[in-house]
């Protein structure tokens, strides 16, 4: 197979066991450049665990994660970040006592590999700050750039989480329930950002999401996890209509759909 035919991201028989419990069971899936794949499934289906194995927070018990055809299963989380896997977390995961600007600036600084600079003043590296301000402007956070991340309301913290992810300029962007706990008027800001990323058609987006209207409007493809196994994979309408999804997921959680 020529190198160009490799998908951007691929998991092959990816499995993790906690003691006797198989949390993710041999999931094989390919993600093509420019695609947006939604990963759905009931709580406890293994979606976040699957994400953690791709971005490197958890070590797979078996199987492989490949980025552009290269096996990255043995790499640490920071090494994967530098190769282009970016992750936004389900539970807001920021630097709470640093400023909103600094949260984004640190991500840009990491991408540019400047972290080990001991003798330059960080405040003198103006281009990093300008870049961070542009991103904060896009996420409607610029007015609060000087406040601590902890001072932001929940929706603001979710937006900051996305701003940090975008600041890393990853090839693969992984969103874990980006709109969870957001008020109705805050959701569009995040969705527009994801739509904008998708519109570029150069990035690969993975999205864990419970809200079915969000999934329908964004995804090119849906995969369904149930008890750690991949049970359905295909275009949104087809997957949502399939009996296995109706029973395994939507039937159980119709209140949320």
């Amino acid at each position: 197979m020529p190198a160009s035919s490799h998908p951007v991201l691929e998991t092959e028989n990816l499995t993790i066991r906690f003691g006797g419990h198989v949390a993710v069971d041999s999931v094989s899936c390919r993600y093509e450049s420019g695609s947006l794949t939604a990963i759905v499934g009931p709580n406890g289906a293994g979606k976040t665990t699957y994400f953690n194995m791709i971005s490197g927070q958890l070590k797979a018990s078996a199987g492989q994660v490949r980025l552009f055809g290269e096996d990255i299963t043995g790499l640490s989380a920071p090494a994967r970040t530098h190769r282009g896997i970016g992750r936004a977390f389900q539970l807001t995961n920021l630097f709470p006592n640093l400023t909103v600007l600094e949260n984004v600036r640190l991500a840009i600084q990491s991408r540019r590999g400047l972290g080990l600079n001991l003798l330059t003043r960080a405040s003198a590296l103006g281009s990093l700050i300008e870049e961070a301000e542009i991103l904060l402007d896009r996420t409607n956070l610029i007015e609060r750039a000087g406040e601590t991340a902890a001072a932001l309301p929940h929706g603001g913290q979710r937006r900051l989480e996305v701003a940090v992810l975008v600041a890393l300029e990853p090839e693969v962007l992984m969103f874990d329930e980006p709109t969870a706990g957001m008020s109705a008027d805050e959701v569009p800001v995040i969705l527009d950002l994801i739509r904008e990323i998708k519109g570029d058609r150069t990035k690969t987006v993975l999205l864990v999401e419970h809200k079915m209207d969000v999934v329908r409007s964004l995804a090119d493809r849906i995969i369904v996890l149930h008890n750690g196994a991949l049970v359905a994979d295909g275009p949104p309408e087809e997957v949502i209509a399939s009996p296995i999804v109706q029973e395994a997921y939507l039937g159980v959680r119709s209140g949320h759909a």
């Binding site: 970040t81 992750r87 640093l98 600084q109 990491s110 003043r121 890393l168």
Partner: protein, 352 residues
């Protein structure tokens, strides 16, 4: 200019600026403002401890790493100079070689400790540093051929740093311009330089990563920082600066022993100074060290004056009897930690 010197990290509070200026002026002109052997000794001790506490702040305040080995590195720097001056008495080469040897040993030892224990968990690092520094303390007192054992080492510093040396014959403001004065300014300038260097480290991109690690290690990893590397470098830098502080103390005191450099009491003092001054600001180290050492050296005198002023009153003179100074020092610490949980610097900056 000032902004560059302070690495853009201005005090950001009028009160803090005034206090820092007062400390700076007080230390810079100490030989003239407070003449006398005892006060000059206090001033030099403050200078060295500011460096020592600030370098500990790099670890505890900025990186969130707890270490009990800070006095060990301080001691290595001091013993480096002491041993070299034993070999080559009163030589500048001994001072230089001793400082550099201490620096190299400290950084190497810090690197090995960090390498073996930081990968696991932060608490494990604290335990390992406690064990290694205890072992080092015993080693220093047992290897008496090299270190002078419990008695320590007394040695001669270069003539230019002793009271017998006269730079100029005339007195300035009634103070003799002798080697003792030169020695003080060596300590003062080196300390000021080291504090500014630490200030640069913490305000450089590297220092920002340290703060990120302290805030949320998991997240720092997720945005691409290999935290173990950053922590290891922080441990080595902090050890190196502590070692240089020890070398300065050895030059000033002309004596190095386990009690003045290695004891766990000093380790606890460093912790107290940092907590009182305020962690994670470097300036907290300046305030904490100054206040602590002043209180330790002069509280007794103050109480003596107070007690005799109260004369024949019942109970009160007994309460502030100079013999109870440790009790009052303790009360002061408890009060300051209670009322300023984020340290004096944190309080001043919040109240601007």
């Amino acid at each position: 200019m000032l902004n560059a010197l302070l690495s853009g990290d201005l005090p950001r509070s009028r009160g803090l600026t005034l206090i820092l200026l007062a400390i700076l002026v007080g230390l810079a002109f100490a030989p003239f403002l407070f003449p006398g052997t005892r006060s000059l000794n206090t001033a030099a001790t403050i200078c060295v401890f500011i460096v020592l506490v600030a370098s500990y702040d790099l670890l505890l305040g900025y990186t969130g790493v707890v270490s009990f080995a800070h006095t060990m590195f301080y001691g290595i720097g001091a013993y480096g100079v002491a041993i070299m001056l034993e070999l080559w008495p009163a030589s500048w080469g001994g001072i230089l070689l001793g400082s550099l040897a201490g620096l190299a040993v400290s950084i190497a030892l810090a690197f090995v400790i960090a390498l073996f224990s930081l990968r696991v968990r932060a608490i494990f690092f604290a335990m390992v540093t406690l064990a290694v520094s205890s072992a080092f303390m015993i080693l220093a007192s047992q290897l008496s051929g090299l270190t002078g054992g419990e008695d320590g080492l007394s040695y001669r510093v270069p003539r230019e740093l002793g009271p017998a040396f006269k730079l100029i014959d005339t007195e300035i403001l009634g103070v003799k311009v002798d080697g003792r004065l030169l020695n003080y300014y060596l300590v003062f300038l080196a300390s000021a330089g080291l504090v500014l260097l630490l200030l640069r480290f913490v305000n450089a991109p590297f220092g920002r990563v340290l703060q990120a690690i302290r805030e949320n290690t998991f997240r720092a990893e997720a945005i691409g920082y290999r935290t173990v590397i950053y922590r290891t470098i922080a441990v080595c830098l902090s050890a190196g600066v502590a070692s240089l502080a020890g070398s300065l103390m050895a030059i000033w005191l002309k004596y190095t022993g386990p009690d003045t450099t290695l004891s766990l009491t000093i380790m606890i003092d460093i912790l107290l100074m940092l907590v009182i001054g305020g962690m994670g600001s470097i300036y907290g180290a300046v305030l904490g060290a100054t206040l602590f050492i002043l209180a330790r050296n002069y509280l007794q005198n103050l109480m003596d004056i107070g007690a005799s002023a109260l004369g024949d009153l019942p109970l009160l003179p007994a309460l502030i009897d100079p013999d109870r100074w440790l009790l009052w020092l303790g009360v002061l610490f408890i009060l300051s930690v209670y009322f300023f949980p984020s340290g004096i610097v944190g309080r001043l900056r919040a109240g601007r």
